[in-house]
C-alpha cells in the first residue's frame, strides 16, 4: 500500500496555516478531487492555526500529512502547556468552531497532551474522483455522521496510487 508523507517544521506565525495547506495541495492536489483537497486543507489549516494560537511562540510546529490508500492522516504537534479537555469544551461554548469543523470532516481524531506539548492527529477517509464530482459530495464523513445528510458511504480508491513509503520532503520554515 502506498504511503506518501510530507513533513514540515513551521514557525508559529500567521502564515503557518497557509504553508500547511500548500503541503496538502502538493501531496494530493495533482490527482485528488477538489472536495477532498479542500477538506484536507481545512483540517490542516485549523490544526495549525490552533497550534499557532495556543502553542508556545518560542517553539516550532511539527506538521505531517500522509496519504495511504484511501486514508489521509494529519498530525500537528506544538510545544507549550498541556491542553485540558475541559478547556476545549469551554472554547467551543464560547464560539470556537475549528474543532467543530474538524469533527465534522474527520473520520476520527485524537489529542495527546502533556506538560511539554500537544499532538493532534486527524484521520480522514477520502472518496474517489468519480463520486466527488457531484455537488455536496467528496468530504468523507464516513464514520462521523455528517449533520446535513451527506452520503456516508465508505470511500474507495484514492490518490496517489503508487505504493511505497515516500517522504517527499521536510521543510523548515
Amino acid at each position: 500500500m502506498t504511503r506518501h508523507v510530507i513533513r514540515l517544521l513551521l514557525v508559529p506565525e500567521t502564515d503557518a496555516p497557509a504553508r500547511a495547506r500548500s503541503a496538502v495541495s502538493t501531496l494530493v492536489g495533482a490527482s485528488g478531487d477538489a472536495s477532498s483537497v479542500f477538506a484536507l486543507q481545512v483540517v490542516a489549516s485549523e490544526l495549525v492555526k490552533n497550534a499557532v494560537i495556543y502553542g508556545s511562540k518560542a517553539g516550532r510546529i511539527r506538521f505531517e500529512v500522509a496519504l495511504d490508500g484511501g486514508l489521509a492522516e494529519i498530525r500537528v504537534t506544538n510545544s507549550g502547556r498541556r491542553i485540558r479537555m475541559r478547556g476545549l469544551r469551554t472554547h467551543r461554548r464560547k464560539g470556537g468552531r475549528g474543532l467543530e469543523i474538524i469533527d465534522a470532516l474527520a473520520s476520527g481524531w485524537s489529542i495527546e497532551s502533556g506538560p511539554h506539548g500537544t499532538t493532534f492527529c486527524v484521520k480522514m477517509t477520502l472518496v474517489d474522483t468519480d463520486e466527488s464530482q457531484a455537488p455536496g459530495r467528496g468530504f468523507a464523513a464516513v464514520e462521523t455522521g455528517y449533520r446535513r445528510g451527506m452520503s456516508s458511504r465508505k470511500g474507495r480508491s484514492v490518490v496517489p496510487r503508487a505504493v511505497h513509503e515516500n517522504v517527499l520532503g521536510t521543510t523548515s520554515g
Partner: protein, 128 residues
C-alpha cells in the same frame, strides 16, 4: 489567489464587502477591519461576497459572527454570496447557514439586502 477585499455601496444604505482569495488566520484581520469600517460608516445591511474567495476557516466565521453581533441589535443583517459548495459546506457543518442568508450570486444577495434595508427604513421587520 492573493487575498483581496474591497467595498461598494448597494443603495438603500446597504453595502457589499467583496472578498477574494484565501481568508485565514493571516488575512481575516484585514476582513475584520474592512467590515468594521463599513459598519462604523453606518451600514447595517452588509453583503459579504465570497464568490471570489477560495478558502475560509473558523477565523473567517468568527469575523462574520462579530459583524452579525454588531448589526443585529440595530435591526441589521449580514448576508453571504457564495456558490462554492466547499465553502458553503463550512457554513452548513457549523450550522451558520441558519444565521446567515446565503445566496448563490451577489446580485441575489444585493437585492435581498436592498429590500431589507428599505423595509427597515420604513420600520418594517425583514422576513429573512
Amino acid at each position: 489567489m492573493e487575498f483581496r477585499v474591497f467595498t461598494s455601496a448597494l443603495g438603500n444604505g446597504a453595502s457589499s464587502v467583496v472578498v477574494g482569495g484565501e481568508v485565514d488566520l493571516s488575512t481575516a484581520p484585514e476582513l475584520k477591519e474592512v467590515l468594521t469600517g463599513v459598519i462604523d460608516g453606518g451600514s447595517r445591511f452588509v453583503l459579504v461576497d465570497l464568490s471570489r474567495a477560495t478558502f475560509i476557516d473558523s477565523t473567517t466565521l468568527g469575523v462574520l459572527m462579530g459583524a452579525v453581533k454588531r448589526v443585529r441589535p440595530e435591526g441589521g443583517e449580514i448576508a453571504i454570496a457564495c456558490d462554492d459548495p466547499n465553502i458553503r459546506k463550512i457554513f452548513e457543518i457549523t450550522l451558520l447557514d441558519r444565521v446567515f442568508s446565503i445566496f448563490d450570486t451577489p446580485e441575489e444577495g444585493s437585492a435581498h439586502l436592498r429590500r431589507a434595508s428599505q423595509l427597515s427604513h420604513r420600520g418594517v421587520s425583514s422576513p429573512s
